[in-house]
C-alpha cells in the first residue's frame, strides 16, 4: 500500500485505554489510531491484550479508563449494538456464533429481513434470507449447508461463517480477531483476498494475527502490544519479522522517536 493515498485522517482513535480484570491489568494506557481505509494489524504475544483492546472498540468490553473517538466524535461504546450503529463490524476470536442456530440464522442475526410490524415482532422473511446466505457462502467458497446447525460445523467452517457475517451489513470499519487461525492455507488465502477487497471498497480494517506473513502481506501499519502496554507502531510494508518479534517480546524501545520514524 502506498502511504500517501490514505493520508493521516484517523477514523478511530482510542486514547489511554486501561482495562483491569481483578488483579490482572489487561491494558494500561494503550493508544490506538486507525486511519481511514487502512489495514492496521495488531500484533503481540499471547495475553498481550489485543483481543481486549478490540473488544473495547466493539462494545463487548467496557474499558475502565480512556476515550474512544469515531470520526472525531467521542463515543461511549456501551454495547455491541452501539458499535454496529457506528458501522463497526467484528469477528471475535472466540467467534461469537450461536451454535444452536443455523448458518443462515447466524449470518443474519441482529439484522434479519422481516416484514410486517417491524421491530421485535416483524415476520421473518426466511426464504429470502436463506437465498442470500447461500449466495454469500458460495461467494466465499464455503461448502456448508445454510440450514445446518452451526454447532455441527468444523472449526474452520465456523470461522468462515463468523467472517461472512461482516460482509452482510455495510460496515465502515471491520475488526477481525485472528480470522485465519483455524483455516487451511487456501482458506486463509481467501480471507486475505477478502480483506483486500474490503479495503478496495473503502472499509477501514483492524486485523489481529499471529501469522507475520499475513500481517506483512495485508497490513499498512502494525501496532504492537506488549503485556498490555503500547509497544509502538511499525510500517507494514517495510517491517521485518525480526522487528515485530523484538517488540512483541521486549516492548517499546527506549527511544520514543523511533516509532514515529518508522511510520511517518
Amino acid at each position: 500500500m502506498d502511504e500517501g493515498t490514505q493520508g493521516h485522517d484517523p477514523i478511530v482513535v482510542m486514547e489511554d485505554i486501561t482495562k483491569r480484570y481483578g488483579e490482572v491489568v489487561a491494558l494500561e494506557d494503550v493508544t490506538l489510531e486507525l486511519r481511514r481505509n487502512e489495514v492496521l494489524a495488531l500484533a503481540g504475544d499471547n495475553g498481550a491484550g489485543k483481543s481486549t483492546l478490540i473488544k473495547c472498540l466493539a462494545g463487548a468490553v467496557r474499558p475502565d479508563d480512556g476515550t474512544i473517538r469515531v470520526d472525531g466524535e467521542v463515543v461511549e461504546m456501551d454495547s455491541p449494538r452501539t458499535a454496529k450503529r457506528l458501522g463497526i463490524e467484528t469477528t471475535f476470536q472466540d467467534l461469537a456464533v450461536a451454535g444452536n442456530l443455523t448458518v443462515t440464522q447466524n449470518v443474519f442475526l441482529g439484522r434479519e429481513r422481516a416484514s410486517g410490524p417491524g421491530g421485535l415482532f416483524g415476520i421473518l422473511d426466511k426464504s429470502s434470507m436463506r437465498r442470500r446466505a447461500r449466495e454469500l457462502l458460495e461467494e466465499l467458497e464455503i461448502g456448508v449447508d445454510v440450514e445446518e446447525k452451526v454447532s455441527n460445523l468444523s472449526g474452520g467452517e465456523r470461522q468462515l461463517v463468523s467472517i461472512s457475517r461482516t460482509l452482510l451489513s455495510d460496515p465502515k470499519i471491520v475488526i477481525m480477531d485472528e480470522p485465519t487461525s483455524a483455516l487451511s492455507v487456501e482458506g486463509a488465502e481467501r480471507v486475505l483476498d477478502l480483506i483486500d477487497r474490503m479495503q478496495a471498497q473503502g472499509i477501514s480494517i483492524i486485523l489481529i494475527s499471529h501469522n507475520l506473513d499475513h500481517i506483512r502481506r495485508a497490513a499498512d501499519r502494525v501496532q504492537i502490544l506488549h503485556q498490555g502496554t503500547d509497544a509502538g507502531v511499525l510500517d507494514g510494508a517495510t517491517v521485518t519479522q525480526d522487528e515485530i518479534v523484538k517488540r512483541m517480546v521486549a516492548g517499546k524501545p527506549s527511544s520514543e522517536d523511533e516509532r514515529h520514524a518508522a511510520v511517518d
Partner: protein, 328 residues
C-alpha cells in the same frame, strides 16, 4: 452449558414438519393412549377426551408461558403465585370486594387490572435479571413471595364468589358445545408457536438461550429479550388465573397451590432444554398431555394414591427415556 459430545441432537432445531415426525415424547404419549384404551373402555370416549383437554388447560397455559423463559435459559418460579394474585385481583376488582370494597370495575377493566399487575411482576423480575445479571431463579423466587403476600392482601385470605358471568365465561363457558378454556389454550398455543417460529423476537429467544454472549455480540438487545420472556410468562400465568375463575367458578386464595412444578415439568418433558436454546410449543403440548392423560387414566382405573404416585414416577422415567433413546 455446552452439550455433551454424545447427545449432539440436543441442539435440536425449531419446528419443521420433518422434526415433528421424529419427535420423541410423542411416542410416550401414544404409548399412554394405547395402554389406557386397552385398560379402560371409558378412556377413549369423546367426553373423556374433552375432559382431559379441560383438565390440562390451566397447566397448559402456564406451561406455554414458562416455555419462553426456559427457551431463553431463564426460569420463572413465580407463575403459580402470579396466577393466583392475578385471578384474585380480577375477581375482587370485578365484584368490588375486599381490598377493592365498593369500587367494582367493569369486567374488561378488572381483567386488564389483573393482567397489568402480572405484567408488573414480570417486569420487576425481568428488569432486575436482565439489567443486573441476578439469576432469574432468585428474582422470580422473590416475586413468588411478593405475589403470594399480595394475593392474601387483595383477597383478605378468603374466597371470592358471586363473580359476574362475563368474567367466569372466559374459562367456564362453551363455544359450539366446546369448553372455552380449551379454546383459549389452543389459541395461545398456536400464537406462541407462530411467535417463536416466524418473528424476530422468537428467533432472538433461541439465540439468547443458546449463547447469551454471542447473541449480545451479534447485536441483539439481550436485555429486552430476557425481560420480555419473563413478562410473557407472567402474562400467561395471569390468563391461567383468569380461566381458572371460570373453571372453578370462583376465586380461591389457594388456587395456585401445586401449580409450579407441573408446567415446568411439562416443558422439559416435551423435550426443551432446561439450559435454554432448544424446544418448542408442540413439545410443551405433548408434555402437558402426557401429564394430563396419565393422571386421568390412572383415576379412571381407580388406582389408589400411593399406586398413582409410583405409576407416575415409572411412566415419567420411561417417557423421558423413550424420548432420549429415540433421538439417535
Amino acid at each position: 452449558m455446552s452439550s455433551s459430545a454424545v447427545d449432539v441432537s440436543v441442539v435440536r432445531r425449531r419446528l419443521t414438519l420433518m422434526e415433528l415426525s421424529r419427535y420423541g415424547p410423542v411416542i410416550g404419549l401414544i404409548g399412554l393412549y394405547v395402554a389406557f384404551t386397552l385398560l379402560n373402555d371409558r378412556f377413549l370416549t369423546v367426553q373423556n377426551q374433552v375432559n382431559v383437554l379441560q383438565q390440562v388447560s390451566i397447566i397448559g397455559i402456564m406451561a406455554i408461558g414458562v416455555t419462553f423463559p426456559i427457551l431463553c435459559a431463564e426460569i420463572d418460579l413465580s407463575i403459580a403465585q402470579v396466577m393466583e394474585v392475578a385471578g384474585l385481583t380480577m375477581a375482587t376488582l370485578a365484584v368490588g370486594a375486599r381490598l377493592f370494597e365498593g369500587s367494582a370495575l367493569p369486567v374488561p377493566a378488572a381483567i386488564l387490572g389483573g393482567l397489568l399487575l402480572a405484567a408488573a411482576f414480570g417486569t420487576l423480575s425481568g428488569y432486575v435479571t436482565a439489567r443486573f445479571g441476578v439469576p432469574s431463579f432468585m428474582t422470580t423466587l422473590a416475586v413468588l413471595f411478593l405475589a403470594d403476600g399480595l394475593g392474601l392482601i387483595v383477597s383478605g385470605n378468603r374466597p371470592i364468589i358471586g363473580l359476574p358471568a362475563s368474567l367466569t365465561g372466559v374459562g367456564g363457558s362453551r363455544v359450539f358445545g366446546f369448553p372455552s378454556i380449551v379454546i383459549v389454550f389452543a389459541v395461545l398455543l398456536v400464537l406462541s408457536q407462530l411467535l417463536l417460529s416466524y418473528t424476530r423476537f422468537g428467533l432472538y429467544i433461541y439465540a439468547v438461550g443458546g449463547d447469551r454472549t454471542a447473541a449480545e455480540r451479534m447485536g441483539i438487545d439481550v436485555m429486552t429479550v430476557r425481560m420480555g420472556t419473563l413478562v410473557i410468562s407472567s402474562l400467561f400465568a395471569a390468563v391461567a388465573g383468569l380461566v381458572t375463575l371460570g373453571r372453578i367458578g370462583s376465586a380461591v386464595p389457594t388456587m395456585g397451590a401445586g401449580l409450579l412444578l407441573p408446567p415446568i415439568a411439562a416443558v422439559i418433558l416435551g423435550g426443551a432444554d432446561l439450559f435454554g436454546g432448544s424446544g418448542n410449543m408442540v413439545g410443551t403440548l405433548v408434555g402437558v398431555l402426557i401429564l394430563g392423560v396419565l393422571q386421568n387414566g390412572l383415576n379412571l382405573l381407580g388406582v389408589d394414591p400411593a399406586g398413582q404416585l409410583v405409576a407416575q414416577g415409572i411412566v415419567l422415567m420411561l417417557a423421558v427415556l423413550a424420548n432420549v433413546l429415540g433421538r439417535d
